[in-house]
């Protein structure tokens, strides 16, 4: 018995909402010129080393201002996050009104694909390279 539709959609909605609220706060902060950055990353607070996804907020914000190169520089994962944050709510609304579970099926399919070692290993390597790059950049 894998994850239920209700639970998955609940988690995704909460995550997207939190993401948008977080972005909103960061945007308004940037507009007022207050550069005092609130970091939430546990790893960075504890060890002073950035984690693999540190800088994705800055990346999303740069993308928001249309600065694609800057977005890649801060963190390539930001682009993936933007795509997820745009697609997932639309997909959930579609599923809700069509009374289907296409997103759940897609999620389970991706999960089985990701469990394949041949696909997982290159992705882990890419994540590691991204992490090393983050540390070199000193985010």
């Amino acid at each position: 018995m894998p994850i239920s539709r209700k639970k998955l959609y609940f988690i995704l909605i909460i995550a997207c909402l939190a993401g948008y609220v977080w972005l909103y706060f960061n945007l308004t902060e940037n507009l007022t010129g207050n550069t005092n950055e609130i970091g939430v990353c546990l790893i960075k607070h504890v060890t002073n080393i950035p984690c693999p996804s540190c800088g994705s907020t800055r990346s999303v914000l740069s993308l928001f201002h249309g600065n694609f190169k800057q977005a890649i520089y801060w963190n390539p994962l930001g682009i993936l996050l933007v795509l997820i944050m745009i697609i997932v709510p639309i997909w959930i609304i579609y599923d809700y009104f069509a009374n289907k579970e296409t997103l759940l099926k897609a999620y389970l399919k991706t999960e089985t694909i990701l469990k394949n070692k041949k696909i997982a290993l290159p992705l882990i390597m890419m994540m590691m390279i991204n992490w090393i790059w983050n540390i070199i950049k000193g985010l």
Binding site: A15, V40, I43, C51, S53, L80, E111
Partner: protein, 112 residues
């Protein structure tokens, strides 16, 4: 199945399941055919304590979720710095029950 065998199983593996499920597992095992005993004995369960340790150390990277088999949620945690740090903290308290639930699912695949 023999009550003695079942009690032995419960004694060694009871900590891997939620307490309210143990009585149900016991009843179910007693009603089970003897031929399944071999499979049930060789099942490997994940230790909730281990997953708690991993959650405390690598929770922000989603390693705990990867370990218990929730790959999708693990990726979610990894991409968002442990859900902005909040999800990682919530999971310190959730991960033990999540592990026990996963163990139950594994056992159920044999039981039913």
């Amino acid at each position: 199945m023999d009550a003695q065998k079942v009690d032995m199983f419960i004694m060694t593996n009871g900590k891997f399941f939620e307490s309210h499920q143990v009585a149900q597992i016991r009843d179910r095992l007693i009603a089970l055919d003897d031929s399944k005993w071999g499979i049930i004995q060789t099942l490997q369960f994940k230790d909730p304590t281990t997953s708690l340790i991993i959650s405390l150390l690598g929770g922000s990277l989603g390693i705990d979720r990867f370990m218990i088999g929730d790959t999708g949620l693990g990726v979610g945690k990894l991409l968002t710095c442990g859900g902005l740090g909040i999800w990682a903290i919530i999971d310190w308290f959730m991960i033990m029950d999540a592990t026990r639930e996963k163990n139950m699912i594994k056992l159920q695949q044999v039981l039913y």
